[in-house]
């Protein structure tokens, strides 16, 4: 469905087309409009708080809803003014909006009326009250120091899920993280267990927020940001750089040369392959099958070699600019990719065949970590995680971009809703990635690598979206003056998927916790954007010390 068709169908009066696939709805009553839009079954994709005071003395909250079947994004805009910005929460209608609204509360000071969990999400507990780092009048290099206004440290920040167990119970608290062999980045899960059964799970994250949005909006130009975006993640950085570039290209209506689109797609699939193989290795290690871990990581090395061959780097390819790519792929490199794919495909299929015959692996993953289709939809799960719960979404097919516009993408969907389904979905996806790579390499057309474009107009909205290895990666931009972005909000897939983990843990055995957490392929650095600072002493402190203060 096109944008204008959607407006005609819904009869929304305050709606306008941003482009063919994006509708902007300026809602007077955001909750009412959100409820009305819910009738069309959208998926909550991302929420962006914007300090719009320099433009019209207001704060904006843009809720982005996705109609996957129609390939349409609906931007639901709510505005509020100074000095106490307040907007009605839509979390009661879209539970997946929970974290996005809390993030806007933390970073911009927008209060959300009737929010079910109005607690801090991202900023550390000892961050001073009334200091909002993403406001335009807050300098990017400012270090807050005001021990008199320390936030309430007892305020709960956990995202939890419980069973209906009674009060009288003998339970123990098992901390999982922030440092744990099963978590390769610092995150904290608090598991309340009875024996080995988990009766309550609490999640706390955002230990490694790096303030990238502030840095980009304050210091960097349009074509510097792709290099920063690529550093959001150490595994799937290229997908972030691509999503960002696509967002700006859409806002400025820049047409990328087809050859550049193919090159981007080739690297995106290379990245998916190495990410999935990495995940398989980690999953096998957590299941105690270290031989499988060694084999998959050895195969992954071949992929890393290909990335180096094509871009000069094993990671952080540095390939994208707004409007195209910086490097071409010649015949010899293309041939090397095809040869390597044959080898990897054979070995990988043999390994998974062996794993499918391993009773203990199947028993440890089947009917474990259940996330039903309804829960997945409600909480906004994306990527292989959602597809393993029967949610048929894939950005490459639903919102075609780059060279995916020119090929058919097979999307494996399973309805097991368990860890085994997540393994099998990723297995099918790995094979599909290999197929797509072969198609892209063989069909890449001749042509230029960069589009020509002039000044980028200001205050345009652009949504760039890619199917990252972990799911939908969405970058939202509002263009600015002087070759700078006004607002940039990257939302990684793990941001959505992490909220589902406590639901999957409750009722499970402690032994299954690591593989359940790992089954969503969590990428914490993608999700987190703030270091812990002891405002009492003004020094940075260890995470453990920070935790003890909670």
């Amino acid at each position: 469905m096109r944008c204008d068709e959607f407006i005609a169908k819904t009869g929304l009066v305050d709606a306008e087309c941003v482009d063919d696939s994006t509708v902007l709805v300026r809602a007077k009553n955001v909750l009412e409009t959100a409820e009305k839009l819910a009738e069309y079954g959208p998926r909550y994709s991302t929420g962006v708080g914007i300090d719009y005071r320099p433009i019209n003395r207001s704060y904006l909250m843009h809720h982005v809803l996705a109609l996957d079947k129609d390939g349409l994004f609906i931007v639901l805009e709510a505005s509020t003014g100074d000095p106490e910005p307040s907007i009605k929460s839509i979390t009661p209608v879209y539970p997946a909006a929970n974290w996005h609204e809390r993030e806007a509360m933390d970073m911009l000071g927008i209060r959300f009326e009737n929010h079910p969990e109005p607690y801090r999400l991202i900023l550390p507990d000892d961050w001073p009250e009334g200091v909002y780092p993403l406001r335009k009048d807050y300098p990017y290099d400012e270090k807050p120091y005001d021990p008199r206004s320390i936030a309430d440290r007892a305020a709960p920040r956990y995202f939890s899920a419980k069973t209906g167990v009674g009060e009288k119970r003998v339970a123990a608290e098992i901390p999982l993280g922030p440092y744990h062999p099963a978590l390769h980045e610092p995150e904290y899960y608090e598991l309340i267990v009875e024996g080995e059964r988990i009766v309550e799970a609490r999640y706390r994250g955002f230990y490694v927020h790096r303030g990238m949005e502030k840095l980009a909006e304050s210091r960097l130009t349009y074509n510097q940001i792709p290099f920063l975006a690529e550093r959001i993640c150490g595994i799937c950085g290229y997908t972030h750089a691509t999503a960002y570039c696509q967002a700006v290209e859409k806002a400025a209506d820049i047409r990328v040369p087809v050859r550049a689109e193919y090159i981007r797609s080739i690297l995106l699939e290379i990245e998916r392959l190495h990410s999935h193989l990495l995940w398989f290795g980690v999953a096998f290690h957590l299941l105690g099958f270290d031989t499988g871990f060694m084999i998959t990581w050895r195969l992954r090395e071949k992929i890393m070699d290909l990335a180096e061959l094509l871009t000069g780097n094993r990671k952080t390819y540095g390939l994208n600019l707004v409007g195209g790519v910086r490097r071409d792929i010649d015949e010899a490199k293309a041939r090397a990719v095809l040869e390597a794919l044959d080898y990897i495909e054979g070995k990988f299929k043999a390994l998974i065949k062996q794993v499918k015959d391993m009773g203990e692996i199947i028993a440890r993953t089947k009917n474990i970590g259940i996330l039903t289709r309804d829960e997945a939809r409600k909480l906004g799960a994306v990527g292989p995680h959602a597809r393993a719960s029967g949610v048929d979404i894939d950005v490459r097919r639903d919102y075609p971009y780059a060279a995916y516009k020119y090929v058919d993408v097979n999307v494996p969907v399973m309805d097991g809703c368990d860890v085994l389904s997540r393994i099998l979905v990723r297995y099918e996806e790995t094979l599909e990635s290999i197929r797509l790579l072969r198609v892209f390499i063989r069909e890449i057309p001749a042509g230029g690598l960069m589009a020509e474009y002039g000044d980028i107009p200001e205050l345009r909205i652009g949504i760039g979206v890619t199917e990252a290895p972990r799911g939908e990666d969405i970058h939202y931009v509002v263009t600015g003056r002087e070759n700078k972005i006004y607002r940039w909000r990257p939302r990684a897939p793990s941001y959505m998927n992490l909220a589902t983990v406590p639901y999957m843990l409750v009722g499970e055995k402690l032994a299954n916790a690591p593989i359940i957490i790992a089954s969503i392929d969590p990428c914490f650095s993608c999700t987190d954007h703030v270091i812990v600072i002891d405002v009492g002493s003004g020094r940075k402190m260890s995470l453990m010390k920070a935790l003890r203060m909670i």
């Binding site: 608290e173 099963a182 099958f289 031989t291 499988g292 203990e360 440890r364 055995k509 032994a511």
Partner: protein, 317 residues
């Protein structure tokens, strides 16, 4: 049939016996970590890695022994004594279970089983005395595994007792050997082999330390010398389970007596234990890890097999 002091053997023979036993225990202190090193090398080669030197475990233990013992400060008193007690029990088991030299201490199979179980109990009690949740969970898992496997162990011993019509089963007796032509003894030997595999914490039964799940589990609260004692005693215990299996399976009397017999015994024992250990390590690399429930369920089946062995032995099969 029994041997040793109870039958009034000569003092000279008794001295020999205890010298042999002492030598066995001392050699085990080195041999057990050496086997572990071989296991690490095998695992690495199967995974197409170069792997560490086979002496690496000895180097690791030496380094840990040189460090001060570290124990979680909030732990119970017993947690402090557990490492030394575990090692003492392992050495005691090493003294009475014949290994390289035929130290016929008159060790009863039931006593040997008790001592080997006591090593696990000491380790479990130590980990349960810790204030660290992971240690407690690891201890609980170790206890569950131990109880499940010891029931199977008891079944195997009972079948041997039923086959030979006595509760006094001297491990070093030349008479008590698992007859390869009796179904009950074949099952008993298989059960003992499985128990040795399980007690060695090989996958899929490696659940009490389960590093990716419990960050080390039962051993997480220990560091330095205390950790070395626990690791070392666990290795000795695993080696002794294999030694017990070899003692009961191999017809040692065919090697003869005298110096030649001794040399042959050392060679045969070393080859057999190393071979069994290597097979176990190879199996270890092709499995994933069970959950505790799965491990107990698997051991229930082994327990059932041991009961069948008892029934068969009691009817003369």
């Amino acid at each position: 049939m029994s041997t040793g002091v109870t039958d009034g053997v000569a003092v000279e023979q008794m001295i020999y016996t205890w010298v042999f036993a002492l030598v066995n225990a001392l050699v085990l202190l080195v041999y057990a970590p050496l086997l572990d090193g071989i296991g690490r090398k095998i695992r690495a080669r199967i995974q197409r890695r170069r792997g560490p030197s086979i002496l690496q475990t000895i180097y690791d233990l030496r380094k840990l022994y040189c460090m001060p013992g570290i124990i979680d400060g909030y732990s119970g008193r017993y947690a402090r004594y557990a490492p030394a007690l575990t090692m003492a029990l392992a050495i005691m088991a090493g003294l009475i279970i014949p290994s390289f030299l035929p130290a016929d201490t008159g060790c009863d199979l039931i006593v040997a089983a008790y001592l080997l179980v006591a090593v696990s109990i000491a380790l479990t009690y130590g980990s349960l005395s810790m204030s660290i949740p992971y240690s407690v969970v690891g201890g609980c898992r170790e206890a569950s595994l131990m109880m499940a496997s010891e029931l199977c162990f008891a079944g195997a011993i009972a079948s041997i007792a039923a086959a030979y019509g006595t509760l006094y089963i001297a491990v070093a007796s030349p008479i008590i050997r698992l007859d390869p032509f009796k179904p009950s003894m074949i099952i008993a030997a298989a059960v003992l082999a499985i128990i040795a595999y399980v007690e060695g914490l090989n996958l899929p039964f490696e659940i009490s330390e389960a590093e990716p799940e419990l960050a080390g589990g039962a051993l997480i609260g220990y560091g330095g010398r205390t950790l070395a004692l626990l690791m070392h005693s666990s290795m000795i215990k695993e080696t002794l389970f294999i030694a017990l299996l070899v003692d009961l399976l191999f017809p040692w009397s065919i090697l003869g007596t005298g110096p030649v017999g001794l040399v042959l015994r050392i060679a045969v024992f070393t080859v057999l234990t190393t071979f069994i250990y290597m097979v176990m390590r190879m199996l270890d690399t092709v499995y994933g890890r069970y959950t505790p429930r799965q491990a107990i369920r698997a051991l229930k089946r082994v327990g059932l097999a041991s009961i069948i062995a008892v029934i068969l032995a009691s009817i003369g099969w």
